[in-house]
């Protein structure tokens, strides 16, 4: 159906309609479990960080991107091959339609705006969502995917989903991927119905961290709500809501997406930019900085024998950005430091190796998006076993 028909409807109504799409009967669920095939598309909720942007600005921003010299050719090609239409449904809710004329395809995404985050709900199949929405977010400078540390992902408990859920939700499987650029070996483990112990085993054996966790809300022994937290791609998907358990589904959607938002803010929200200002008068001059921010990347385990020492991680990180990845410049700064510059935005960071961790220091008003991209690349391409923590310090006004 055309979601524009929901114009004027309340946010609650629209969410309920979308959640209803994944409500399944006993029979359907049985059939699915037997055949291991999904009968319908999952409801996906992408949690995006918006940098001072409203959905209605999308058209103008895209136009600017298309005509700017700083935009890369891939981005321009993407814009060329798609059309974007945004309709306001109510005060904080919008329908984004992305058309792909070449395949005569039209995909719809409902955007709920919550301050600086957009919660984008869609039933579009993953294959197409990747080609449309996800690519759009990659290229659009004012939007970023949210991020959750694998450690946090593992720790999602019933309580996060609401006290009443205590004892009712459980870890029900995971996907752990490890795709280092510097090794022939690439590992992707999908475990259905596994438990924490299984995950721990995988971590030890294969040095992988979970990129996706499946959580099931049970009214034992039945699975009543089945959802998947895609830590690496910034969305939660709900594949099944058993009929009669609609409220649980709602709770999962709200709390689950809230977790992504909280986690993202905790790690990446830049509160204190190191912007320097100088003051000068006859009898006084000085410089002061607004604040200071750094990102600490701690490997959760290190194994010098298998190429996982901190030195290895540092060396391979530098190699990745300067030799393999397109779009970055860099130069050696000191024994254990490099400066890295993103070509299209001129964002610059210093990456340094300490005893137990790597530190990423953004310079000036380096964008959050660039820092996230760099951190995520290190995790996806060099060493998956890293937890990111933010260190933030205000310097003005205390």
């Amino acid at each position: 159906m055309d979601y524009n028909e929901w114009e004027g409807k309340s946010t609650e109504y629209i969410r309920d309609e979308l959640l209803n799409s994944v409500v399944k009967t006993e029979k359907e669920i049985e059939e699915e479990e037997k055949t291991q095939k999904k009968s319908r598309s999952e409801l996906k909720i992408y949690v995006l960080k918006s940098l001072d942007c409203n959905p209605l600005d999308i058209h103008d921003e895209i136009k600017k991107m298309f005509t700017s010299e700083n935009t890369g050719s891939y981005a321009k090609s993407f814009i060329d091959k798609h059309r974007f239409e945004v309709t306001e449904l109510n005060e904080n809710t919008y329908n984004l339609k992305i058309y792909t004329p070449e395949f005569k395809k039209s995909d719809q995404f409902i955007i709920f705006v919550k301050d600086s985050y957009w919660h984008v709900w869609t039933l579009v199949r993953k294959y197409w969502a990747e080609k449309t929405l996800e690519k759009f977010v990659d290229y659009f400078p004012k939007l970023e995917k949210s991020y959750i540390n694998p450690e946090k992902l593992e720790e999602i408990t019933s309580v996060d989903l609401g006290d009443e859920m205590e004892g009712k939700s459980s870890f029900s499987g995971f996907v752990a991927k490890y795709k280092p650029y510097h090794e022939e070996k690439q590992i992707s483990i999908n475990m259905y119905g596994g438990d924490q112990g299984d995950l721990d085993t995988m971590k030890e054996e294969f040095h992988v961290e979970p990129s996706q966790i499946t959580i099931s809300m049970k009214n034992s022994p039945q699975n009543c709500v089945l959802s998947h937290f895609h830590g690496d791609e910034g969305y939660i998907s709900i594949s099944t809501i058993r009929e009669d358990y609609f409220d649980w589904g709602k709770r999962m959607a709200d709390k689950g997406s809230g977790l992504f938002e909280d986690s993202d803010k905790e790690i990446f929200e830049i509160l204190n930019k190191p912007i320097g200002m100088s003051y000068e008068s006859d009898d006084l001059s000085y410089t002061e900085f607004d604040g200071f921010q750094s990102f600490i990347l701690r490997p959760t385990f290190m194994d010098g024998n298998n190429g996982f020492s901190l030195n290895d991680i540092y060396d391979k990180t530098i190699e990745w950005f300067l030799k393999n990845k397109r779009g970055f410049y860099g130069y050696k700064w000191d024994d254990d430091s490099y400066h890295i510059i993103k070509k299209d935005t001129m964002d610059m960071i210093q990456i340094s190796k300490e005893d137990d961790y790597l530190t990423v220091y953004p310079f000036d008003d380096c964008s959050e998006k660039t820092i996230k991209l760099i951190c995520r690349d290190i995790i996806e391409k060099v060493a998956g076993n890293i937890t990111i923590n933010k260190h933030s310090c205000p310097l003005i006004g205390g």
Partner: protein, 293 residues
Amino acid sequence: MKSINLFYASIVGKDEESSSLSKAGFKPISQVKIVDPYGDEKTEAKPDFCLFKDDYMAMIEIKSGTNVNEGDIQQLIRNGEFTIEGVRRSFRRTENISLEVSEIESFIVYYKSTIDDCIEIPNCKESFDGIIENGILLTQEENGLLKLHEDSNEPKDETLKTILSTGIDLPKEPKTEFEILDNPFCENVMVFLIRKFINEFKTTNEILMDQFDMRKKFIPPGIACQVYKVKNALECFRKLDCATKERGGDRYRIKKDDLGKLVKVPEFLLNNNCEDVLDEKDREEKISLEDFQ
């Protein structure tokens, strides 16, 4: 310059778990120049940092060398002569710093190894004693601590005394927040300008300026840097094919497209210097950065 950035790390904190001077409530300013109109013959001080908390102010000199010099003692004495009225008057027009200063203390920071060595040498020990008499001595060490020296007077601020007696963790590789000092070397100016150019290229594709305008735009007002140094830096860029000079004029042109070459310069300068580059006669082909390896 690493010594300045290392100390700065004690202000902002090594990581999210460490203690820091800002966590302890001290607000910093850097690259400070204050004139005290009430002091003897108009005292001027250029502390590397000043820290403020309530009515307390710390003036901090950072030393990077391996020696303790007589000049250092003079600096400490001069800083110590600053009157409270003088400081209040100088800061009266600033907006961010509201000053109710009634206590000023003078600090000096050396690398730990410098002090450890100094105490062993009789001549140096004398200077060391002069330092101890006239200010508060802190030592710092990469991947170590910023700490109050055991022989030093203690700061009057209790919090400062405690935190500095325990010591503050310092990183191995602090962030290079400060990249240029008074009377910089040509190489320093070059690397500094590269970073400024990168920031400039966020909004423009080309920089076209002579050395005067470059200095005005890019070098912080409190930093003493003679124009000829900027000129030398620009000439080096030109010889390394990173910049061109306009015909019949003094302006240098650096384009965003030159960035690929510019980013090779810092590593080049790890093993070469400006003099080498400037001495090379202009040839038909430009000097390639690879020539010098």
